[in-house]
Amino acid sequence: MCVMTEHMSGVDRRTFLKSTAIVGVGTALAGCSGSSDMVTIGMLQPFTGEVSWVGESSEIAVEIAIEEINEAGGINGQEIELVTEDSEASQQTAVSAMRKLINTDGAVAIIGPTSFTLPAVMNIAQEEQVPQISPTAGTSELDDKGGEYVFRTSTSDSLGGKGMAYIADQTGHEEMAVMYVDNQGGRSFGKTVVEGFEALGGTVTEEIAVSPGKSSYRSELNKAFADDPSFVSLTCGTQTGKTIIDQWYEQDLGGVWGLSNDMQTGEFANQMGEKLEGSYAIGPLSAGDRYEQFADAYRAASDGEPQPFTAEAYDAMNIIALAAAAAGENTSAGIAENLIDVSAPDGTMVSDFVSGVEALDNGDGIDYEGASGPVNMDEKGNVRSPFGRYKSDGSGWQLDGEIAAEDLTF
C-alpha cells in the first residue's frame, strides 16, 4: 500500500525532489493537448467531499448534451471535448482549477461551480473574459453581479424564497417556521422566505439556521415546532434533509413541509415515502415532455434517477453550444455575447441543439426552452422561470399548482 518500498529508506533529498518534479512537469506537458478540430468546454464542480454527487451527476448530464451535439456534427464543425476539474468545494483549489481549465486546457466556456466556490472564481471569468454558467448556484448574492461573463441556469433564491412563501400562503397557512442550513445557498433562500411570508401578512414563528451534516437535529426540530406551526420551510439539501425529515417523522411533530428545489426530485420523494406525503416542494415548472426526454437519457446513461440540477446542467451545455453557433465561432467572446440572446424569450422557440442550429441557419433569432424550464436569462445572467408547486403523494412529486413570475412581485 505504501508508495515507496523498504529499500528506499533514507531517500536522498535530490532524488526525491527530482522525481516529483519530473512527474509534475511531465504530466503537465502531457495535459497540454488540444487538437484543432475539437473545442474544449471546462467543467468545474466538486467531485470529492460531501457534495461529490453534484460533480458526478452534472458530468453525466453534460455528457448527454455533448453526445447529442457531437452526433449532429458538433458546433461550427468542431466536436466538443469536456475537461473536468474538482473544486473540492474549496476556494483555494477552485481558483487554481479554474485557471488550469482556462489557460492550460483552453476551455472556451466553463460550467459550474457551486455557491461554495463561485465567489472566488467569478473574477477569473471576468478577467479572462471566459463565460461561466453555474447550473446549481442559487445564492442571491449573485443577483446583480452576473450578465457579462457569469451566468446561471438555476434560479436565484431571492425568487425561489418568495415562491415558497407564496406556496404557504396559497395553501392556507398563516404561521410558518423557517429552517435552513447556514451556508450561502441555505441562508439566501431561507431569509427570502421569511421576508416574503411577512410581506404577505403571515407570521414566522421561528427562524432556525442549522449546521449541515450533523447526525441529530432533534433539538432543532423541537425548537422549530415549539409553537406548533402548520407549515415549515426547509432548505438544506437531500442529505441533511433526509436526516431532518426522518427525525421529524419519528418524533411525530405534525405540520407539513415546504422543501426547496434541490430536494424536489423523484428519488427523494420515493426514498422518504410516506413520511413526505402531503408535504410540498417548489421546483421549476417542468418542461413536461422535454424534461422526460432528458430524464430518459439520464436513466439510460447512469442507471439512476436524475439528480437535482442535472437538467440545469444539460441546458447550460446546450445554450453554450447554441450561443457559439449564433456567433458563428467557438470563442469565449462569441459565446459570452450570445448567451442571453439565445435564451431570451424572443425568436423561434427551440428545445434542442439541432433545431436551434437550423433556425439560426435560416437567419432567425432563437429562444431555447430546455429540460429545466424556459431558461430565459435576463441582463444579469439570471433565469426567471415560473415555478411549480409540487405535492408528494407518498412516492413522487405531483404538480399541484403553478406560480408565474408575476405572482411573486410582493
Binding site: 454527487w53 439556521a209 441529530s216 425548537k223
Partner: protein
C-alpha cells in the same frame, strides 16, 4: 421558551451516551499511547461500515452485525498500528511525528471509504419506529435500547477496571508506565488489550450512532474533535471522566439549541473544551485514575 423543555435534555442524553462510549475508547488508547491520533475517527467509521456490510449487504441482523464488526475493526486497527505506527515508534519517533502521520492516514482512509461506498448517507436495515411519549418527552424504542447498551457497556468497563486483573493492570500502566513495568506487568500485552477494548467501544459507538441517525464516510472525522473534547473534559486516560465528559457535551450541545443559534451547536463542544483546558486542564475529576 418559558419553562425549560426536558426534550432537549433527553436528546442530549441519547447523543451524549454515544459520544461517551466513543470517548471511553479514545481515552483508553490516548492514555496509553500518548499521542493525538487523528485517524481515530476513521476506526469509528470503519466499524460502522463493517456493520453496514454485515447488516445490509449480507443480511445479518444488527446485533450479529455488531458482533462481527468489532473483531474485524479491531483486527484492522491492530494491523494499521503494526504497519504504520510501530515502525515509527521503533525509531524513537513520537508525539508530533505520529500525529502528522495520523493526519495523512486519516485522509487516506476516509477517501478510500468514499471510493468504495460513495458519500451518500446510508442506513442500517432496521425498522424506523415512531416515538412514544413518556412523561412528556418523545423517545423511540431504538433510542432507549441505545442508551441501555451504552450504559451496560460502561458498567462492564467499570467492572473490568475494578474487578479483573487485566483491568487493574490497565489502570496501573496508564497512570505510571515505568512503575508498572518494574512491578512485572507485561506492558505490551496490556497495551494490546487496551487497543482491543478501546477500539471495540469505538465500534459500538459508531454503530449506535448509525442506528440513531445514518452513516457516512466522514462520520468519524466529524466526531473526532467532539470525542477529544470529551476526553479532555474528563481528564486524559480516565474512562469515568470520559463517560461524564461525553454525556455533558452531548447534553450541552442539544440544550444550547434552546438558547443560542443552532448553527453555533458544533462550536459548543469546542467552547467547553477550551474553557476546561484553561480552567482545569487535568479534567473534571482532577488527578485521578
Amino acid at each position: 421558551m418559558v419553562a425549560f423543555d426536558p426534550q432537549y435534555l433527553v436528546n442530549g442524553v441519547i447523543v451524549g451516551s454515544t459520544i461517551a462510549l466513543a470517548a471511553v475508547g479514545l481515552t483508553m488508547i490516548f492514555g496509553i499511547l500518548n499521542f493525538i491520533n487523528f485517524a481515530h475517527g476513521e476506526y469509528l467509521t470503519v466499524g460502522a461500515y463493517a456493520a453496514f456490510v454485515a447488516n445490509v449487504t449480507l443480511g445479518l441482523p444488527i446485533p450479529v452485525a455488531l458482533l462481527v464488526a468489532v473483531p474485524i475493526t479491531a483486527g484492522f486497527a491492530v494491523a494499521i498500528d503494526r504497519v504504520v505506527y510501530y515502525p515509527l515508534r521503533e525509531r524513537g519517533l513520537g508525539g508530533v511525528g505520529l500525529l502528522i502521520t495520523s493526519v495523512g492516514l486519516s485522509i487516506a482512509l476516509r477517501n478510500t471509504i468514499e471510493i468504495i461506498w460513495g458519500s451518500k448517507l446510508r442506513d442500517y436495515a432496521v425498522p424506523s419506529g415512531q416515538a412514544m411519549t413518556i412523561a412528556g418527552v418523545r423517545i423511540t424504542a431504538l433510542q432507549i435500547i441505545i442508551i441501555l447498551v451504552a450504559v451496560l457497556l460502561m458498567v462492564v468497563v467499570h467492572l473490568l477496571l475494578t474487578r479483573t486483573i487485566l483491568g487493574i493492570s490497565m489502570r496501573a500502566t496508564s497512570s505510571n508506565k515505568a512503575l508498572a513495568l518494574s512491578s512485572g506487568i507485561e506492558t505490551e500485552r496490556i497495551i494490546r488489550w487496551t487497543w482491543i477494548i478501546g477500539i471495540s467501544l469505538t465500534v459500538v459507538a459508531g454503530v449506535l450512532i448509525g442506528l440513531n441517525t445514518s452513516i457516512r464516510p466522514s462520520m468519524g472525522f466529524r466526531l473526532l474533535l467532539v470525542m477529544f473534547a470529551a476526553v479532555i473534559l474528563g481528564g486524559i486516560g480516565d474512562p469515568y471522566g470520559a463517560m461524564l465528559g461525553g454525556l455533558s457535551i452531548g447534553i450541552a450541545q442539544e440544550v444550547s439549541v434552546a438558547f443560542v443559534s443552532a448553527s453555533y451547536k458544533p462550536a459548543i463542544a469546542f467552547a467547553i473544551m477550551v474553557l476546561m483546558l484553561l480552567w482545569r486542564p487535568e479534567g473534571i475529576r482532577g488527578e485521578n485514575a
